[in-house]
C-alpha cells in the first residue's frame, strides 16, 4: 500500500504527519521523502544512511568534428536547450528534459549523451523504519525526475509513506501519482482552505481516494470543516494547536515521542486509511 501525504499549502504539517505515522508503524513501513527541494523528514526520524549516490539525467554531447551545423537538433528541441551559433552548438544543459530527441534527429550521428547531476539519493534506516530521501542539487530546476528515482527505490514489501512537496504542479503529481491513498493535511485558515481545494482537485484528477488531517485545528475558522463535509472528504484526525507540540517540532522531536498519548491516535489514523483503501479496492473489483 502506498500513501502519499500532501497539502497544497506549505507548512501545514505534512512532515509531522508522515514522520509520526512512520514512527508508530515501525518495521512495517518505509518513508520516502519526496520533497526533494526541501527534504525535512530526516531531521525528525534521524536515519543512518547506508547508501548515498548521485542521481543524473542524460544531456546531449555534441561531437563538433562530425557536426555540420544543420540545426536539426536545435529546431527539434521543444525546450530550447540547443542553439546553433555560427560554427558552434550551444547546449543549455539546465533546460534539457532528457528526451533523447536531438540524438535521434541528428543525421550525422554527432550527438551522444553525457549527464547532468540532479541531486543525490539517500537510503538508510531510522530504527525499524526504512528511509529514503532525495536532495535536489542547489541550482537545479527539475525535481520530478529525482522524485521518480526516490519512488523507484521503494521496497514493495513494506507499506510506503510518501512525504510530498507543497503545491499542485508537476512535482506534487510525481509524488502522488499511482498511490493508493492521499492524506491531505491542512490548517483551518483561508489560505489553508484555498490551497486544500486545489489539492482536492488534483486528487480527483488522479482518481485517488483521499482523507483529511486538520492541524492546529483550533486556530482560524470553521470553513475547512464545512468544506470537508460538503466534499465528503473524511476527516481522519484533528491536531489542536498546542505550544508543547510546536516546541517539540521546533527541536526536531516527534509528537509521538514527546507526547506519547498521541501514539494511539496515529495508529488509529492508519487503521482508518487501511479501511478506506480496502473498501475502495473491493469496489474497484466489483466494477
Amino acid at each position: 500500500m502506498i500513501i502519499s501525504i500532501a497539502s497544497g499549502k506549505g507548512g501545514t504539517g505534512k512532515t509531522t504527519v508522515a514522520t509520526n505515522l512512520a514512527q508508530v508503524l515501525g518495521n512495517r513501513v518505509q518513508l520516502l521523502d519526496c520533497d526533494v527541494e526541501e527534504p525535512n523528514a530526516h531531521l525528525f526520524l534521524q536515519p543512518t544512511f547506508t547508501q548515498s549516490e548521485p542521481v543524473t539525467t542524460p544531456i546531449p554531447l555534441i561531437d563538433e568534428t562530425k557536426c555540420t551545423f544543420c540545426r536539426k537538433c536545435a529546431d527539434f528541441c521543444e525546450f530550447n536547450a540547443l542553439a546553433v551559433v555560427g560554427k558552434q552548438v550551444l547546449v543549455f544543459a539546465e533546460l534539457c528534459h532528457s528526451c533523447g530527441g536531438c540524438m535521434l534527429v541528428c543525421p550525422e550521428g554527432a550527438i551522444t549523451e553525457t549527464s547532468r547531476e540532479l541531486g543525490t539519493l539517500n537510503v538508510g534506516n531510522a530504527g525499524e523504519v526504512a528511509f529514503v530521501n532525495g536532495r535536489l542539487r542547489v541550482g537545479e530546476a527539475m525535481s520530478p525526475p529525482l522524485i521518480k528515482r526516490v519512488r523507484a527505490a521503494a521496497d514493495p514489501d513494506r507499506i510506503t509513506l510518501i512525504d510530498a512537496p507543497p503545491g499542485t504542479s508537476c512535482p506534487v503529481i510525481a509524488a502522488m501519482y499511482e498511490t493508493d491513498f492521499v492524506l491531505l493535511v491542512t490548517e483551518p485558515t483561508p489560505f489553508g482552505l484555498h490551497d486544500l481545494k486545489l489539492a482536492v482537485e488534483a486528487v480527483k484528477l488522479l482518481g485517488i481516494p483521499a482523507g483529511l488531517v486538520v492541524n492546529r485545528a483550533d486556530i482560524g475558522d470553521n470553513a475547512v470543516f464545512q468544506y470537508a463535509e460538503e466534499e465528503e472528504l473524511p476527516l481522519l484526525l484533528t491536531i489542536p494547536f498546542d505550544r508543547q507540540i510546536a516546541e517539540a517540532y521546533s527541536r526536531g522531536r516527534m509528537m509521538v515521542d514527546a507526547l506519547p498519548e498521541w501514539r494511539h491516535q496515529f495508529i488509529e489514523l492508519f487503521a482508518k486509511i487501511e479501511q478506506i483503501v480496502k473498501v475502495n479496492k473491493e469496489a474497484a473489483c466489483v466494477n
Partner: protein
Amino acid sequence: MRELVIISGKGGTGKTSLTAALASLAVNTVLCDADVDAADLHLLMQPEMRQHHDFMGGKSARINPDLCTGCDTCRTLCRFDAISERLVVDPIRCEGCGVCVHFCPAGAIEFPVQRCGEWYVSDTRFGTMVHARLGIAEENSGKLVSLIRKEARQLAEEHGHDLILTDGPPGIGCPVIAAIGGATALLIITEPTVSGVHDMERVLDLAAHFNVPGMVCINKFDLNPAMTETIENIAQKRNVAVLGKIPFDPVFTHAMVAGKTLLEYGEETPTHAVVREIWNKIITSPSMHSYGIVDLKATIQ
C-alpha cells in the same frame, strides 16, 4: 525600479502574510504573486480584475487511433513511459518533447499547445497586482512565473513605480529559480525550527548561486529562542542581515480570517511595530540600493 522577492524555502513560514503587510506600508509599488502553484495573496488583496489572459505552456502528444498502424515506434522511443501498450498517451506522464510526433511513420500523432493556466492584472487597494493560476497538475510553473514578473516590471516602468513586491513560491526548484533571477534582493522569512533552519540554508545557498543578495527575518522567534540564536549566527557567518524578529502572534491568523493585512487589523501591538521596523530596514538597506539610483525610501514612502 527595484524588485524585492519574499521567499522562505520551507512553506508556511509567513511569506504571504508578510508580503501583504509590507504592501500596506508601501505606496507606489506593484504587487506580484509568483506562487502560481498555490497563490494566496489575492485572498488578502481582494483584487478587482482588469485583465485576464490565457497562459499557453508546453505541448502534449495525442495519438489519432484512426491513423495509428500500431507499429509501437512511439512507445519504444518515449523515455517517459507516457504511452501505454494500447498506444494511448498518458497526458500526466507526457513531457511534451515531441519525439513520438516526429518519428511516427504514419503521422498519426497530434501535438497541440496546451492552455496551462491563466494570469491577471488587477487593481487592489494597495495598487496594481499581477497574479496567476497554474492549472492543476501542470508543468511550466517557471515559465508562468517569469511571464508575470516580466509583466509586473513592464507595468512598473510604464507607470513610474519604484518597487515591485513579489510573493515567491516555497522550495528551491523551477518556480523559485524563475522568481529570483534578476531580483534586486530577497527577503527570506524563516522560523526557529529544525526545518526552518535547514530550508533557510538551502535558500541562502540558492541566492548565493544566482548572486542575489538576501536578507532574513525570523517569524515566531519566541517559539524557540535557542534556535533563533542559531539562525542569527548562521546569518552573521554568511554576512546576511537579520532585519527583524516577529513574535508568535495569533493576530496574523485573525487578520487573515478577516481578509485584511496585519497592519489594517486591530490595534497597534508590538508585532505591528516589528513589521514596520522591518519595512524601514528594507527600504534603507544597502541591498536595495545596489544600483545607486535615487533614494528608495524617499520615493516609496
